[in-house]
């Protein structure tokens, strides 16, 4: 167990270094955006006088490197500074948005992960049957379509034609959980459709790959039923690649939802990021990007640790 804790600590340390490099890249990429913050804030209607006054007030006249160091100093203590556009604390501004995104991701994951793995096991069991083919075609079709298109199709049928679910997922305060699940069902379903194919096909491939192994033949020869061969003998050895794919897809659920949020008007962090970019609101953009990067790093770490835990050979290296 001590090895694993050491490994986690090492990977976390490495993750921090990566985050630091990413923060530099983010900061200077944002600097490269054309246009001017003061102009973006005041709009077309601003005169030179207003612009100068606003730039001074926002501290935009300092050199970029000074602003970067100031920001980094705050960020290590989880203080992302204030939005230069509204003056509100960034943490307050995106905290709630991030929770909304996490909620939607969790909602989609709770449906998608068991669904994809069970479906993967079933199609592995019934490989090359009609069921296998149909499941593959359907999931591949959904992963090949852009999310916003899937979203529009779902809206067309579930909201406009059948009126079963609302077309927009606007949230209000004091909503009950049931209400919340009902209002966000369509965006969650869109995400489920997007991530299922990847996980299901990896489960299927990993299991089928193992079915040629001698120990599976042994299990068959001793008379174990096919489902037991797969669930009890093949699946435990297939976990490592499956966990990897699941982790990657979970990361996608958080960082890749921008389009889904726009289509369903869901107040998540992706929408906040788009807004911030269009307003040149550096602190918010940087905070959002850092959160996305951290999510990716943490989920990848989780995937590695999960893969090690499910594989005794990796747990006890020689």
């Amino acid at each position: 167990m001590g090895d694993i804790l050491g490994l986690i600590a090492r990977r976390l340390g490495l993750g921090l270094v990566i985050l630091f490099v990413i923060s530099i890249i983010i900061f200077f990429m944002v600097e490269l955006l054309p246009g001017d913050i003061a102009q973006a804030v005041l709009g077309q209607g601003a005169t030179e006088d207003n612009l100068a006054a606003l730039r001074e007030q926002m501290g935009l006249n300092k050199p970029a490197i000074v602003r970067y160091l100031e920001w980094l100093g705050g960020a290590v203590t989880f203080d992302f500074g204030s939005s230069i556009v509204t003056g509100e604390r960034v943490t307050g501004l995106i905290g709630e948005r991030f929770m909304n995104t996490l909620f939607l991701a969790a909602y989609a994951a709770v449906i998608a992960v068991p669904f994809a793995i069970i479906l993967g096991v079933i199609v592995a069991l019934l490989r090359n049957s009609i069921f296998d083919r149909v499941a593959n075609v359907l999931t591949l079709t959904s992963i090949s379509s852009p999310e916003f298109f899937l979203g529009y199709i779902l809206i067309l049928f579930f909201a406009v034609k059948w009126g079963m679910f609302p077309a927009i997922s606007s949230l209000s305060q004091g909503m009950s959980l049931g209400d919340l699940l009902y209002r966000t069902f369509l965006p969650a379903l869109t995400l489920v459709l997007v991530v299922t194919a990847h996980m299901m096909r990896m489960t299927r491939a990993a299991i089928i790959n193992l079915l040629a192994s001698p120990y599976i033949e042994m299990a068959r020869l001793k008379g174990a039923p096919p489902w037991k061969v797969i669930v009890k003998h093949a699946l435990p050895n297939a976990w490592a690649p499956i966990i990897n794919v699941v982790a990657l897809n979970l990361a996608y659920l958080i960082t890749g939802v921008v389009l889904v949020e726009v289509v369903f008007v869901y107040p998540g962090i992706g929408q906040a990021l788009v807004d911030a970019v269009s307003k040149r609101d550096f602190p918010v953009v940087q905070a959002c990007c850092l959160i996305f990067a951290a999510t990716f790093i943490l989920l990848n770490l989780a995937a590695d640790v999960g893969a090690i835990l499910t594989n005794p050979r990796l747990r006890h290296p020689k």
Binding site: P34, G43, D49, V284
Partner: protein, 536 residues
């Protein structure tokens, strides 16, 4: 006062008005001709003609253009959804009525000194903030001062740069003293930045609290996402029929239209024109298509070759087939432009100026006269200017080939278009929001020394008239001056104006409104929440 025959006439008028066959303006004229006083006629209009709007219900409005970084600061209002919001919960000194005239809001009446340099606004005694505090002269002065002075970051600073002092007269009225005459000042007070907020003790403005004296009180605010409001019972004007109002920011045009079709909202701003005809087919939806004063301009730098020659400018103006542009790019939702920036939705509009037609032959002969045959020019445009902006330029380039003009359409990035291209490149496409009066518009973008003189146009007579008209309190004389200025802008100016855009927005069928719709903003001058009602 009136005989039975007149009473029959009045009854008939009320019937016609109920069926929306007669506008408020004509209704008032006929009623007064039938012997009613103005106030009686107004009362009759509101009670009879509109079949008595019913109170109650929860109005849910889907508005486009909202951003997380929007704020309550009146100096930085910029997005359309905030403009919808502020007209719902804050008030102004004056307002634009549905028929386009100027009406009272927090100021109940106003008068000018004969030279139009001093304007006195008498405040409405009933005006009350949502906190329960009465609106005082102090609050109004602080609200206006927020847009004045060195430190102000307000985008509306330039509108008040002429104001030298604002005085509290001590009798619930204020006086604005200006350096030069301005007959338009009461109109300027309708600018969306000039909301009335409570003052702090030190005379600064307390805009942060989200308090206001408008028809509804803010309950829940999440910028860029949505707003929830309830009726302010002590509002000083008539209306505010809904009990509750929700404004949801729906930036995606498809999300907006779907939400309206499925009944998730009761009204939406800004319809995608491409799908307009499909939406109109829905029996539960009503589309409102209102000519507005917002427009698209194509300014040419009058001091840069080849645009420094007036014949070249006019040849280019003659080379656009505006009808085709309106039909193909705007799907009919536009009013033809005539190269002067004064829309039929503004006061003093001259209706007798001949329309400039598409005439490649005349354009050719003008080019020949200017010695500029085989003219080749670059036109910069970005997708974000308006929906179809690039398409319009490509179409225009095709049309101009008939006059022998080669227009190279240069598609620039939407990001930073207004800081990098506008006012910097000799010819581009610009979107302009509605301005209340011709003076505001001309002073902003056509005056010789204006910061935004986007065509670098210098015309002595035009600028002389501009100042004269600004100080003229006689409406007929003013109208005559604006007519002459329009002719100058049309025939000498550097700006091609293809059309004035229409406001196209939609509502569910059970949402009712009066026969006129204000043209200052979408949704009845952004006042749908206080002017519209649910059919009972």
């Amino acid at each position: 006062m009136k005989n039975s025959k007149d009473q029959i006439l009045i009854d008939r008028l009320a019937d016609a008005a109920r069926d929306a066959k007669v506008s408020r303006r004509s209704f008032m004229n006929y009623s007064m001709a039938a012997g009613l006083s103005a106030s009686a006629a107004t009362g009759l209009w509101t009670t009879q003609a509109n079949a008595a709007p019913t109170r109650g219900g929860h109005f849910r409005l889907g508005a486009h253009d909202g951003n997380t970084s929007d704020s309550h600061d009146p100096g930085t209002y910029v997005t359309y959804s905030t403009i919808m919001l502020i007209h719902t919960f804050r008030s102004y000194l004056t307002l634009i009525e549905p028929d386009g005239s100027l009406g009272p809001d927090v100021a109940s009446e106003w008068t000018a000194s004969p030279d139009a340099k001093e304007w006195t606004f008498k405040l409405n005694d009933k005006a009350t903030f949502h906190s329960g505090k009465k609106v005082t002269a102090n609050d109004v002065i602080a609200s206006l001062n927020h847009h004045r002075g060195e430190a102000s970051t307000s985008a509306a600073k330039s509108l008040l740069s002429d104001v030298e002092d604002i005085v509290d007269n001590g009798d619930h009225s204020i006086t604005l003293k200006m350096a030069s005459s301005n007959a338009d000042l009461p109109w300027l007070m309708t600018d969306y930045h000039f909301v009335i907020c409570p003052a702090n003790d030190d005379g600064s403005l307390n805009w942060q609290s989200g308090d206001g004296c408008g028809p509804y009180r803010l309950v829940d605010t999440e910028f860029g996402v949505g707003y929830h409001l309830v009726r302010h019972d002590d509002w000083h004007l008539e209306g505010a029929y809904f009990d509750e109002v929700t404004i949801t920011v729906l930036n995606d045009p498809n999300a907006r239209q779907t939400a309206l079709v499925t009944g998730d909202v009761d009204g939406i701003t800004q319809i995608e024109l491409k799908t307009l005809s499909l939406l109109e087919r829905d029996p539960n939806i009503e589309v409102d298509n209102v000519p507005s004063a917002s427009t698209v301009t194509m300014p040419m730098f009058c001091d840069v070759a080849p645009f420094d020659n007036v014949d070249v400018r006019n040849a280019i103006k003659l080379s656009m087939n505006r009808e085709e542009v309106i039909e193909k790019i705007l799907f009919g939702a536009g009013t033809i432009g005539n190269d002067f920036h004064h829309s039929p939705a503004m006061p003093y509009w001259p209706d007798d100026i001949p329309q400039r037609e598409y005439d490649p032959d005349q354009a050719k002969s003008l080019l020949k006269k200017a010695g500029a045959e085989g003219l080749s020019v670059e036109l910069k445009v970005a997708d974000s200017v308006f929906s179809g902006a690039v398409d319009m330029c490509v179409l225009f380039a095709e049309q101009a080939k008939a006059s022998g003009i080669d227009i190279k359409v240069n598609r620039s990035p939407s990001d930073g278009y207004y800081s990098d291209v506008w006012l910097k490149d000799p010819w581009c496409v610009v979107q302009w929001g509605a301005r209340p009066t011709p003076d505001v518009m001309y002073s902003l973008a056509y005056k010789d020394d204006a910061a935004w003189n986007e065509s670098h146009w210098q015309n002595e007579r035009f600028n002389e008239l501009l100042l004269k008209a600004k100080a003229e309190l006689d409406d007929d004389l003013r109208a005559e001056m604006y007519r002459e200025m329009a002719m100058l802008a049309r025939d000498d100016g550097g700006t091609l104006i293809p059309f004035f855009s229409n406001f196209v927005y939609a509502r569910r069928k059970n949402v009712m409104h009066g026969p006129d719709l204000a043209a200052s903003w979408q949704m009845d001058g952004a006042r749908a929440a206080s002017r519209w009602w649910f059919a009972s």
